[in-house]
């Protein structure tokens, strides 16, 4: 008996639709987030993440509706990130049916937001999303914003330590260098963050081969998030889980038909 590693597909949602190309063959409407969430659940996803990339607040209302409809059908944990700037934003998402929220830019701009959310709802609802790249900061890793396009000069390891002290319950570590390359997770970055954080660590960015998933776990990740390899059908969630199970990792095998 051990805690299973988690496989987490991430869906980018805007205006009530999933964006980024999807390449399923067995879905009539591949852009519907509720339908995709349900499919990933049946394939054995251990959690789901929605990233709201809407530009306007009216679209955010639509996202709340997507969260509501998903939570009606899917009984696994749902994390929602994107555009969260206040305790009230978190409250709305949790009421709609999200179990956790992930925050990024707003916490960089105003770190106290972390403590405000943790005090009100508990650390367990709060995932700190860190978009980091290799750079000449003290640790060699720098926090970026705007999808890795803008540097902040903030050292990524120092930021993780500070955020943990303020009360985040989990770290989502996105490698901006590896993101979208399918050339493997940034193992050095995962190792470095694992060494200094005592909360669960989700690795993201770079998943390509099945071996890549195993390497990230060996580096200390507790959970693995991926988007394009799943959306494009390069790997099905079940393939990844069966591979890792065969390699001896603790996996929750899906019982659903």
């Amino acid at each position: 008996m051990t805690l299973s590693i988690r496989i987490i597909p991430c869906l980018d949602v805007t205006d009530g639709r999933v964006v980024k190309g999807v390449n399923f063959t067995n879905l009539v409407d591949a852009g519907d987030p509720v339908e995709m969430a349900s499919l990933y659940d049946s394939e054995g996803a251990d959690e789901l993440t929605f990233l709201d990339i809407s530009a306007s607040s009216s679209n955010r209302e639509t996202t709340l509706d997507v969260v509501r409809r998903t939570a009606e059908q899917v009984f696994i944990p749902l994390t929602v990130g994107g555009g969260i700037r206040s305790v009230d934003d978190v409250d709305r998402l949790l009421r709609a049916g999200a179990d956790k929220v992930s925050i990024n830019t707003a916490a960089i701009v105003r770190p106290e937001l972390i403590a405000e959310i943790a005090d009100r709802f508990g650390s367990q609802v709060l995932v700190l999303s860190v978009d980091a790249r290799r750079a000449r900061t003290e640790s060699g890793f720098e926090v970026t914003t705007h999808g890795g396009r803008e540097g902040t000069d903030i050292d990524a390891l120092a930021w993780v330590e500070k955020a943990c002290a303020l009360g985040v319950g989990e770290i989502l570590l996105n490698s901006m260098d590896a993101d979208g390359t399918r050339a493997g997770y940034d193992i050095g970055m995962i190792t470095a963050v694992r060494a200094i954080s005592k909360v669960p660590l989700i690795a993201s960015g770079g998943a390509g081969t099945l071996e890549d998933f195993a390497h990230a776990l060996d580096a200390g990740a507790d959970a693995l998030l991926a988007a394009s390899v799943f959306h494009f059908g390069i790997h099905r969630i079940g393939d990844v889980k069966r591979y890792l199970d065969a390699q001896g990792y603790s996996i929750r095998m899906s019982t659903s038909k």
Partner: protein, 200 residues
Amino acid sequence: MIAILDYGSGNLRSAQRAFATASDNVILTSDFDEAIEADGLVVPGVGAFAACMKGLEAVKGSEIIRKRKELERPTLGICIGMQILFSEGLEHSESGSHAGVGIWKGQISKVDAPILPHMGWNSVESATHSTLFKGIENESFYFVHSYAAKSSPSSNATWTTYGEKFLSAIEDEYVSATQFHPEKSGRAGLALIKNWVKSL
């Protein structure tokens, strides 16, 4: 009728939706009489022990739970809703210990593991004569917590190991509880909910 006790803790809607898969009549309530009269009462809970107790007292939750036990009416606690049924919570030890509802004598203390919260799917060593785990003895369930009970006041106890062994479920006559979230544990969780509802 199944009542989910609304005392300002957590995402009650997902609990309501999950229990609605097993019963046609599930309500959210903070009404004293309604909570007493329900065939089954669910006490959910997320966040911190002390904050939960405060919310619970605001709706006379302790009294509801104790009275239901006297009347031999089933109650199910979930996550912090399990922890607060014990007599004492040591959460946030700098502020000392907090009194719980006291259905069971025992302490809730921090899980001894290098990485906390214990977050994700873990298996259970289910009690031999369990009603809740019937047919799903070998499944995993979704946990999110840093504190737990380390000893059981009842022999009908289910255990999980994360760093150390802790009580992941208890079935003590009319009061049952799970440390994990059945409402977030996929099909296995819904099966557990159905088992409980069928037992009412």
